[in-house]
Amino acid sequence: MAALEIHNVRKEFGSERVLKDVSISIDSGEFLILVGPSGCGKSTLMNAIAGLEPVTSGNIYIDGEDVTWRTPAERDIAMVFQSYALYPSMTVRQNISFGLEMRKVPKAEREAAVERVADLLQISHLLERKPAQLSGGQRQRVAMGRALAREPKVYLFDEPLSNLDAKLRVDMRTEIKKLHQRLGTTIVYVTHDQVEAMTLADCIAVMRDGHILQLGSPDEVYNNPVDMFVAGFMGSPSMNFIRATLEADGDGYALRIATPDEADLLLPWPTARHTAGLVEQLDKPVILGLRPEHFSEEDVRLSEQAEGTLLEAKVSVVEPTGADILLRLPLGEQEITARVGPKCEVSPGERLALRVDMSRAVLFDAETEQRLA
């Protein structure tokens, strides 16, 4: 039985359709992340699951029970808000035990729950403080503590890390992951940061304009994106989209990339990646998707054994990040980003030889932006 099932949920605000037939099913203990650009409906979906907004049509089931028309309190769900929403006039201890108090849990049990949670999140020393006396990271933990104390069936996290500074965000992300591994709770998490999505999720739902474009594991969403939007959204720096034409090349296919003032670039399409549908795209424009890490600096000593195709281009911008180097180079009529190792010594204006790993490349239909291969 699924821990949380969302069935054909629609949400309209007046004439505006914010959620269009959304369906998701997650199992107990799974970590689902809703990710997408602003306005895609992820927060609305979150509020609908919590019962803070009624749905226009569709059903929501928690552990098999239909909770579509239940109040938030009746759904046995806890939520961690982006702004933490801690009760300003109460101490941390009171904040955490408030939900249990509302559910008439006896005092001894409440105290025990507070201790347990404070221990887990290392906030025991903060229990008598008020929210105004806490730092951002501490408030975040208290907000999580409030949710954990109730031991609900589903946890909802609404962009909980957005208000933290970069370093704290990374630390807290790891903490959340550890908590999930330790407690095995069912989590639905919203974020616009796709790095968070990739690192935390068991399952990612990429949303756009009220639809779920793709629902899958991080690996699937990253390496087998269903269309250009998903491919471009996940990954940073984002995937390069290169205009090309699909041609026959002997028994197989190749991609011709038009290059002004030079010979056209021809990239062979790996035989292992042939699909039946490709034959219909012959001589038609397609979009080739290559992620920056699919390029690597050509190591002259290994030339003979190297896999992938060789190409050469003139580097226009060099951006060292410390851990690696991002290069901007023209490919055909477009400029792409390539990620190479930190030891690469090249200056803007120089020509550089790169290897392209075509085995991980993706092809999209130029018009529908859907994935072809």
Binding site: P54, S57, D66, T68, W69, R70
Partner: protein, 304 residues
């Protein structure tokens, strides 16, 4: 909030539905009170203004006869003209004085807090108290006129309060004394709300301080001016207490205002129909100011 459930969903729980209705239940008494005591009463007064009621309400309708009588009533015209004079002077002087004081106070004055308290305290007084005090101050035999004369200016005249032509201006003085501090507070808050960087930019552009105030700051304060005018106009139209205490409407009815006219006729002279008609006209005056203001507020909200 319950919406139409789909066929397969369960109905909302009882406690869920109660929670959805509680806000409306809580507001209902106030809404009912508003509907009855505000809108209902306005309607009632309107109805009364269409009757020939005198000492007691009688529902014998005479169309707009009372309004016609009002238009022909000399005292009403005096009251209305007085309102125009009083209202305009009151608003303009308060705005100028308030803006001036606010701008002066904004210049990093050390005793700003104390001065603000001094300028604003009259607003805490009842208009009756204000009227009583100023009546004393304006007393020709023992007040300001007497005092200045005792300083050697034998022919100083300041007996406006007993002069039918000048008495209405005494209302202006007392009202300005009471309310200009409030306008100052509004302007000061407005000034403090202006983004510093605009002023710094103007300084870098080489503008002098007075010019900065005139060209940069004042335009930013237009909403404050609107609010102030609205509130001052409202005070002016409602002015009843001040007239009663300061001049009693006199000499004769030289300082009558629509508010005192209404009260006198409705409660003292057994002319309920006429009084109601005058009250409706007062309401009309308020609406004439309120509606354009709301309209311009809504429009600026849509654009802004």
């Amino acid at each position: 909030m319950s919406e139409t459930p789909t066929r397969t969903a369960l109905r909302p729980t009882a406690s869920g539905r109660l929670q959805a209705w509680l806000p409306r239940l809580v507001l209902a008494p106030s809404v009912a009170v508003s509907l009855f005591f505000v809108y209902g009463f306005m309607l009632w007064t309107f109805v009364l203004s269409l009757t020939s009621s005198r000492m007691l309400p009688s529902y014998d309708f005479v169309g707009f006869g009372q309004y016609a009588r009002l238009m022909a009533n000399e005292r009403w015209w005096v009251a209305s003209t007085n309102l125009m004079i009083f209202g305009t002077l009151f608003i303009v002087i308060c705005l100028v004085l308030g803006a001036l004081l606010a701008m002066l106070l904004d210049q990093k004055i050390r005793q700003e807090g104390a001065l603000r308290t001094v300028y604003l305290y009259p607003m805490a007084l009842s208009f009756i108290v204000t009227g009583v005090v100023w009546k004393w101050l304006l007393n020709p035999q023992l007040g300001i006129q007497a005092m200045v004369r005792s300083w050697g200016f034998e022919s100083f005249e300041f007996d406006w309060i007993v002069d039918p032509d000048m008495a209405v201006y005494t209302l202006v003085i007392a009202a300005v004394w009471q309310a200009s501090g409030f306008v100052m507070a509004l302007f000061l808050a407005g000034l403090r709300g202006i983004d510093d960087s605009i002023i710094k930019a103007a300084q870098l552009d080489g503008a002098s301080l007075p010019r900065i105030y005139w060209r940069v700051v004042m335009p930013c304060l237009r909403p404050v001016v609107f609010s102030a005018v609205m509130i001052l106009a409202h005070i002016a139209i409602k002015s009843f207490d001040l007239v009663v205490a300061l001049t009693g409407g006199g000499p004769g009815y030289a300082t009558d205002l629509p508010a005192t006219f209404m009260y006198t006729h409705a409660f003292n002279r057994a002319q309920i129909g006429l009084g109601s008609a005058s009250a409706m006209l007062m309401l009309g005056g308020v609406l004439a100011i309120l509606i354009p203001y709301l309209y311009s507020e809504l429009r600026s909200r849509k654009h802004g």
